[in-house]
Amino acid sequence: MGLAILLIGTRKGLMIARSTDDRRTWATDDFQFLNQEVYSVAVDTRRDPPRIFAGVGTGHWGPLLTYSDDLGKSWTEPEEPPIGFPQGSEASVARVWQIQPATDQQPDVVYAGVEPHALFRSDDRGQSFALVEGLWEHPHRPSWTPGGGGACLHTILPHPTEPKDVMVVMSAAGVYRTRDGGTSWEPANRGIQAAFLPEDQRFPEFGQCVHKVAFHPEHPERLFAQNHFGVYRSENRGDSWAPVESGLPSNFGFALVAHPHRPETLYNFPLQADAERFPPKAKLRVYRTENAGADWEPLSQGLPTDPYYGAVLRDAMVADSGDPAGVYFGTRLGEVYASRDDGDTWALIAGHLPDVLSLRVAEIA
């Protein structure tokens, strides 16, 4: 691997780490966007030069969606607002939760998920975004409720070969899917439990608080979900889901990451419970399955052994495209750990940061 770049979005700014020795060591740049939260980051390598995105916000001056074409040395904010609800909708973007380049067949398409629950699409590499009206006008929308972090559309999953097939995940609305490019959307939550609802109402059509969905590009029909209590697998792109929790110390958590090359391998970072958002028994461990969720094993070699009380948020764990894969996670204690051997061993690569909100990694040719 030549140059690897790791974007670290935190509660108070963005740090970029670079490695030129096949991920053995990392050098960090100066902090950027000081005192501004960086909830979402992305690297789009489909065109040259690669484009880096950051969803930045302050408590006062509103959200910002900006990009860099020089790997973070300078940032561009278009003259026209890059993202915003149409006049008359009464809504305004509170936070950009997710920035997701589409597939290789659509190299200029970039999606953004925001709060309040909405999906935006750009056809010009992220310079301007338009509201996906089909989801915004969905008849379920008045019944969607905010999750603990807000009314967020936090995950966007374009099908790797079918450009009109896109899934989104919202808290607390659940998984929705379009197969016609965004005109119509259907919930895809059958089998996922909403444990916080009355006992006889725990499997609704929508309203689950699904925290993250991941899949391997070679198997887009097989999905994995980390729910607000429950880890699930679907073999039919969300038509139905079944639990795959055996071996996990808890079925609560946020982060879920697919291995870049092995479709049966995923990584999970369990937390004790929604009211105890710490690693189970305060042991800092990533869990890995190598058989699509049938079993999970703890990974801790190189991680701190003393009690650890930092959670990992939904976008703060990622894998790179290396072989063996690099896996990275950032904690709310401001530490970033990395593995360059599929998760077998770990090392601290950045610390003493504000709490980590978002990570993305890419190999730069």
Binding site: G59, W61, G62, P81, S89
Partner: protein
């Protein structure tokens, strides 16, 4: 009507590092519409895409807060001072 928009340090980057800029209009809404034509990145930090004052932005016209009622209808006289400040709310520590 021409008035002066007085900016906190955090916003001067969007005004070519100036502490104040001229704005033109008889109401605050008209004046900020004028600002949006010339310095759109500054204007959108004050108002959201629906033209509403952002929740944690304070504005004062000649010392009087425009909060409450219809802020964008606030008259702005010739030579008025329009003072912008971040509210003490809106942070997360």
């Amino acid at each position: 009507m021409t008035s002066r928009l007085l900016l906190p340090a955090a916003l001067r980057h969007y005004a070519e590092e100036q502490a104040e800029v001229e704005i033109h209009g008889g109401t605050l809404g008209d004046a900020l519409d004028d600002l949006a034509e010339r310095l759109p990145q500054l204007e959108r930090r004050l108002r959201d895409e629906q033209g509403r004052l952002r929740p944690h932005v304070l504005m004062f016209v000649d010392g009087v807060s425009v909060r409450g009622g219809a802020p964008m209808d606030t008259p702005v006289g010739d030579g008025a001072e329009v003072f912008v400040a971040p509210a003490v709310s809106g942070g997360t520590g």
